[in-house]
């Protein structure tokens, strides 16, 4: 694989690889611990979609906002949610990002700018507009990136959200992570257009489809969309095409997926491919990348240990945080 004239500088390439590896290694740990029965939770693997989050991740500042969905581990990590608190929240512990009360589908970590994770398909889109509107009203140049799936582009919230963003020229990047399936339904059975990016035309914003498994191309498209939003030029719909390696959720038998299609996608795994490309083109040495991976593995070991040894929330926590100032009981 040859050098790319459109590639970013080495630091950016390595930053993207770092994010991708963090996601991949974290996901592998979750799946192995689930399979071995060490932990139990509903788990939506983001494996295969790493390049997309890394692609916007390196363009964002800590004060930019991100909104994502139940399949959100990759987005949480790309926005810098710390591993310990993230693992603890996934395991429902008091030390988690949300004191164990949100869980994996509702990760929130405002210090990292990870503002909302929703379990309702499409619903993060209108909320992202609110973050964009806040930035616009405050006169800051903060950008909001909202992630969702191909399936979400069929629900009303998507259309209402893009319409409002188009009318108000909100600084929001709409990232459709098109993994070709919505739960058990292939895209062609639910979506009458070939490219979800075509839908942008109705809402007065640019729509771009990019190969979401190509880190350089994704980085470039995300960079343009983020820059446009930051400059006050309005929203963009980015459709990043990818593949969902492990079905809808852990335990999915995947009868509705084509075996060969999945095999081919997994053989073209974008993370090792990017790794090989970095080495082939002299952007990094084997030792360097191996060290990076070891560091991440050690950080995951630490986070797992932290989470596993953390207490469950106190019983009183059932009743707190419902309202600012009202006492609640059974």
């Amino acid at each position: 694989m040859s050098e790319r004239p459109d590639a970013p500088d080495r630091d950016t390439l390595l930053a993207m690889f770092e994010i991708q590896s963090r996601i991949k290694l974290c996901d592998e740990r979750f799946r192995s611990m689930l399979t071995s029965g060490q932990i139990q939770l509903i788990y939506y693997s983001p494996r295969g979609q790493e390049c997309i989050s890394a692609g916007w991740g390196v363009h964002l500042r800590p004060d930019d906002y991100v909104v994502t969905i139940y399949r959100g581990l990759h987005d949480h990590l790309a926005k810098g949610v710390p591993l310990r608190e993230l693992w603890a929240e996934f395991l429902g512990r008091a030390t988690g990002t949300c004191k164990g009360k949100g869980g994996p589908m509702h990760i929130t970590h405002p210090e990292s700018g990870l503002m909302v994770t929703t379990g309702i398909v499409g619903s993060g889109i209108p909320i992202a507009n609110g973050f964009g509107l806040a930035a616009q009203l405050n006169g800051t140049d903060q950008v909001t990136v909202v992630n969702f799936g191909d399936g979400a582009s069929n629900i009303g919230a998507f259309h209402e959200g893009l319409n409002m963003a188009g009318v108000w020229k909100l600084p929001v990047v709409f990232v459709c992570q098109n993994n070709l399936y919505g739960e058990h339904t292939p895209m062609a059975m639910s979506t009458p257009v070939e490219y979800i990016s075509e839908r942008a035309a109705s809402y007065g914003m640019p729509g771009v489809t990019v190969n979401g498994n190509d880190p350089v191309a994704t980085w470039k498209v995300m960079g343009e969309a983020v820059a446009r939003a930051r400059a006050g030029e309005g929203p963009t719909l980015v459709e990043a095409r990818t593949y969902r390696f492990h079905g809808h959720l852990m335990g999915d038998a995947m009868e509705y997926m084509d075996k060969d299609e999945r095999k081919a996608a997994m053989e073209a795994d974008p993370v090792p491919a990017f790794r090989a490309w970095l080495l082939d083109n002299g952007h990094a040495t084997e030792e360097q990348l191996a060290e990076l991976e070891e560091t991440i593995t050690a950080a995951i070991d630490d986070a797992v240990e932290f989470a596993m040894n953390s207490p469950y929330p106190d019983a009183d926590e059932l009743y707190t945080d419902v309202y600012a100032d009202l006492t609640v009981s059974k």
């Binding site: 990002t97 405002p110 503002m115 909320i127 609110g130 309202y323």
Partner: protein, 336 residues
């Protein structure tokens, strides 16, 4: 009590709401409004937001597309980001199109985030039958939101309460559903009342005894408080003394005042416009029975809307609504 206030100008409910919005926007730059048709020249379909876009600019009085999910979603995000949005849902029935944003998001986000991200927004909506709008523009659906932990619910009965409670709602750190019964908007004769100027707030969770009495407690909120007062007036002539408790806020609910009143009178009738079945009155009645069963002289009576969609024909619409005659009959059933 507003009835005794003669020092302040008499306003309609719409004018009082307008004044509260004006005061709040003047006090805090983070307050902004969004909704359909709320800007000038119309200032809202009921003219409740009249003049505000001229005074504060269309960036703070934001006219939107007909897009309830986008309106509430944007309010949720902006509220988390530190603003105090006041979103308008033109009519309560339309909330069905955006209930996901209201319940799953506005209502749950504080909790799901472990308290990290409060959602200080207000959803104002106009509601109620009596104007010939038919089944889809007339409902009172407060029970939907009372049933969702995380949302506060306010239903004012007078202009002064509307202003004071709306100011509290806007500066409250939780999502608040604020219900304005449109029959009261511009009817100064029946529903007008004196309103103190400036930033006068009424705390949530404090019921107002709108009339004192000793034989039976009428518990209500919103426009039906006026029907309860009319019933009380009528029954007084027959020697039946009614106490009228106006809840003003359903979440939080001032149960202490209700229970104190009923333990004095030993009898209660709960009254609201929403359909009776699983209405807020069912909850109230149940709470009164749970706390005062042994003391009651008679079972708590419920008076609400018929368990039907709201019909168009004037006679049927009027039959749907709880009327003074229904409240009177309920009182007579238990005072015998």
């Amino acid at each position: 009590m507003s009835q005794t206030d003669t020092d302040h100008p008499v306003l309609t409910l719409a004018m009082a709401v307008n004044q509260a919005l004006d005061v709040a926007m003047g006090l805090d730059e983070k307050v902004f409004l969004l909704g359909e048709d709320i800007a000038e020249p119309s200032g809202g379909v009921y003219k409740v937001t009249k003049g505000l876009s001229t005074k504060y600019g269309t960036h703070r009085v934001r006219k939107t597309a007909i897009s309830e999910t986008a309106i509430i979603g944007a309010a949720v995000g902006a509220a988390i980001a530190g603003h105090r949005p006041v979103a308008e849902i033109m009519m309560f029935d339309f909330i069905a199109t955006c209930l996901d944003q209201v319940t799953n998001h506005a209502g749950k986000i504080r909790y799901m985030s472990g308290g990290q991200t409060p959602v200080p927004l207000v959803i104002r909506t106009s509601a109620g039958a009596g104007r010939g709008f038919g089944a889809q523009h007339s409902e009172l659906l407060e029970a939907w939101c009372v049933h969702t932990p995380g949302i506060k619910v306010v239903v004012p009965s007078t202009p002064a309460d509307a202003k004071g409670l709306l100011l509290t709602a806007i500066f409250d750190d939780d999502p608040v559903l604020f219900i304005e019964q449109m029959m009261m908007y511009w009817d100064a004769k029946r529903y007008g009342g004196p309103v103190p100027p400036g930033d006068v707030r009424i705390p949530f969770g404090v019921a107002d005894i709108k009339r004192e009495g000793s034989d039976v407690t009428l518990v209500s909120y919103g426009r039906q408080v006026h029907d309860c007062l009319a019933t009380a007036e009528k029954l007084a002539a027959d020697g039946i003394s009614c106490e009228v408790v106006d809840l003003r806020t359903l979440v939080p609910c001032d149960e202490a005042t209700v229970l104190a009143s009923v333990s004095k009178t030993k009898r209660a009738v709960v009254v609201h416009e929403a359909v009776t079945r699983c209405g807020f009155g069912a909850e109230l009645s149940s709470r009164i029975h749970e706390e005062l069963f042994g003391e009651l002289a008679a079972p708590v009576q419920r008076v609400g809307g018929a368990n039907t969609p709201i019909p168009y024909a004037t006679n049927l619409e009027s039959d749907f609504l709880p009327q003074v005659a229904d409240i009177e009959a309920a009182v007579r059933r238990i005072t015998g």
